[in-house]
Amino acid sequence: MKQPASEAQHGGPDAAATSEPPTPATTASSTSAARSTEEKGGWRALGLRLDVRNLSLLGVLAALIIVGGITKPDQFLDTNNLQLVLTQASVIGVVTVGMTFVITSGGIDLSVGAIVALASVWATTLATQEYGFAGILFTAVVVGLGCGLVNGLLIAYGGMVPFIATLAMLASARGLALQLTDGKTQIVTVNSVLDLGIPDSYILGIPPLVLVFAAVTVIGWLVLNRTTFGRRTVAVGGNAEAARLAGIDVRRQRLYLYLLSGLCCGIAAFLLIILAGSGQNTNGNLYELDAIAAAIIGGTLLSGGRGTIVGSVLGVLVFTTITNIFALNNLQSDVQQIAKGAIIVAAVLVQRRTLRNGEA
């Protein structure tokens, strides 16, 4: 804990000077200079591209809303249904925001579902519930952060590939969650937590879960697009070596990113506890795939270097809306899964087309 903190003051030059064998100073500075001008030119183009991508996804969403409105006008175009869709999107949405950061940096976090499961069961043990609202919230967040810290340390300082490190976390967090619960469903009896899930608690008709989701989205967008932290994330994902030469402490940046993803998982776990009124070791099943899929169809590059929070959130909304429309039309899960796959392909193809036209 202490060492990285002390490095914060003189991390950049230190890391460049010590950890890498002789790179001539001139080369280093000229590469980074070239890199930074290139980046400046690239930023504007990037902004344009992101807009085009988001636009095409908005088109998909609009098409879905039309389909929903035509097939089930009464049930689909209804305030309750809007609340329902947004609430269902909140938990996975918060996870996806964290995932977007990790993917933008060129990493991947396969452990998000397992961390949500572990945080949600740890926060709902009988012993934790004795501490009430604060105990549950605190435990969920700290367990999320703790798992993120382990992921981050293994990847940034242990030199493990993100895929493997987070896969290991997936397995062990699920195992620990099972051990804590013995496979039992832990029902929450703390009313102050449960009350946040029922309509009485809605603020101006907006469920608290949706407010949290909105806040996480806005903060995520600001951090990614308007802060040094965000630029560093993009730089690390674009070219880690260049970022390091430009004076970014890549390892610390990676650590922070997995911590951030863990934090998002902790928050999501708390939302899930409110939503389901319980903690279960099967929670968060396949969240990793849903979050990755949402980020990718949103326009975040799986290879890193480009990320969009707005796109990711739109991706989540597209998936939640599909599920909603299918359920309202009483279509079964086999059809739902086929359609989901088809829509992923369609969304990405449409994006590529619009992208090419936009560039031409």
Binding site: A5, Y131, D182, G183, I187, I198, L275, T282, N283, A327
Partner: protein, 346 residues
């Protein structure tokens, strides 16, 4: 080394106290009490007979029902002084479970009770045990070859659907144009299809009832909440709901509460303690649950013991234990809930 900063110290202390708090929060023990597995008296021939060693191999107890299976087996075996239970660590991995059963065969246990993670995949090792002269009691998930077991004991998924359908039918038979919805379990499991088939077949007895919607959840609380919320939005009014599984039912009840809906009858499935408590309290839409009794594991121990002592089942004329035993899916409602409450699992 740099000198310790105040911030570092603060974070360090905070981290340590958070760690201490979290460690204290792992406990799930309410107050010590007996596991509510099986409190019925043992069968008629309670007297100790010849010693029997029973090997038991099951899947990983990763949800309530499977956990209850293990507890039922253990507590039943503990009732008999002459029975030794050799229970393996549960595994969902076919190869691992085959290895565990082979170990039990090598240990030369007298009788094997096997609840396979996957019935078809464990058929060969069942055959191997039978050929080695160790009779196998196949619990619930059936082997592909009847020669792989001496006796099969398990639940009746089709019967569960039938019981649920008939119970709902009786309650709604005088209501014209009654609407029913179904919250199914994992759709790619055969057992879910069987439950739905039984439910549909039973509802055919009541021409006034129509099933208007069905969605499949995946046995988890989270999915139960999500799918039920959608079903409620899709169906502004209906008269009854059958939910296949009480675990996902926790989520379904939460969704019903969140939507502020009532005025219909809900029937659960499997027989969890939480569901039975709710039925007894009679303060929610949940009025009944259809059993898929975990006590079948206790019965399997009884059958294994009888087999090991070369006895039949008391109360029947046969000299040998039966070749198959299908447990009845009883409906538990307010009338009989006290009788079944001890078998409810959490």
């Amino acid at each position: 080394m740099p000198e310790t900063s105040r911030r570092g110290l603060l974070f360090g202390t905070a981290a340590i106290s958070a760690g201490a708090f979290l460690t204290a929060c792992t406990s799930n023990e309410p107050d010590k009490k007996e596991p509510a597995a099986n409190t019925q008296p043992a069968a008629a021939d309670d007297k100790p007979g010849a010693p029997v060693t029973i090997g038991f191999a099951g899947p990983q107890a990763d949800h309530g029902w499977l956990n209850a299976i293990n507890e039922n087996a253990k507590s039943r075996a503990a009732k008999y002084s002459e029975v030794t239970l050799d229970i393996t660590e549960g595994s969902n991995d076919t190869a691992a479970q085959i290895g565990q059963v082979e170990t039990l065969i090598n240990k030369k246990v007298d009788v094997l009770v096997i609840l396979p993670a996957d019935g078809k995949a464990l058929t060969q090792v069942g055959l191997k045990a039978m050929r080695a002269g160790i009779p196998v009691i196949n619990l619930d998930r059936i082997f592909a070859d009847p020669q792989a077991y001496r006796c099969w004991v398990g639940g009746d998924n089709y019967g569960m659907g039938v019981s649920a359908g008939n119970y709902i039918g009786e309650k709604l038979k005088d209501k014209p144009n009654a609407k029913v919805i179904e919250l199914a379990g994992i759709d790619n499991l055969e057992l879910t299809q069987q439950r739905t088939q039984g439910f549909d077949d039973a509802l055919k007895n009541f021409p006034n009832i129509k099933k208007v919607a069905r969605q499949a959840a995946d046995f988890t609380v989270e999915s139960g909440q999500a799918k039920m919320a959608q079903l409620l939005q899709a169906q502004p009014s209906f008269d009854a709901l059958w939910n296949h599984d009480d675990d996902q039912g926790v989520g379904a009840l939460r969704a019903i509460q969140q939507a502020g809906r009532d005025g219909f009858l809900m029937v659960g499935g499997a027989g969890a303690k939480a569901a039975m408590d709710a039925i007894k309290a009679d303060n929610s839409v949940l009025k009944a649950t259809v059993l898929y009794p975990p006590t079948m594991a206790a019965s399997a121990i009884d059958l294994a013991r009888a087999l090991g002592q070369a006895k039949g089942v008391s109360g029947l004329a046969e000299l040998e234990i039966p070749a198959s035993l299908t447990c009845y899916s009883a409906v538990v409602d307010k009338e009989n809930v006290d009788q079944y409450l001890p078998t409810g699992f959490s």
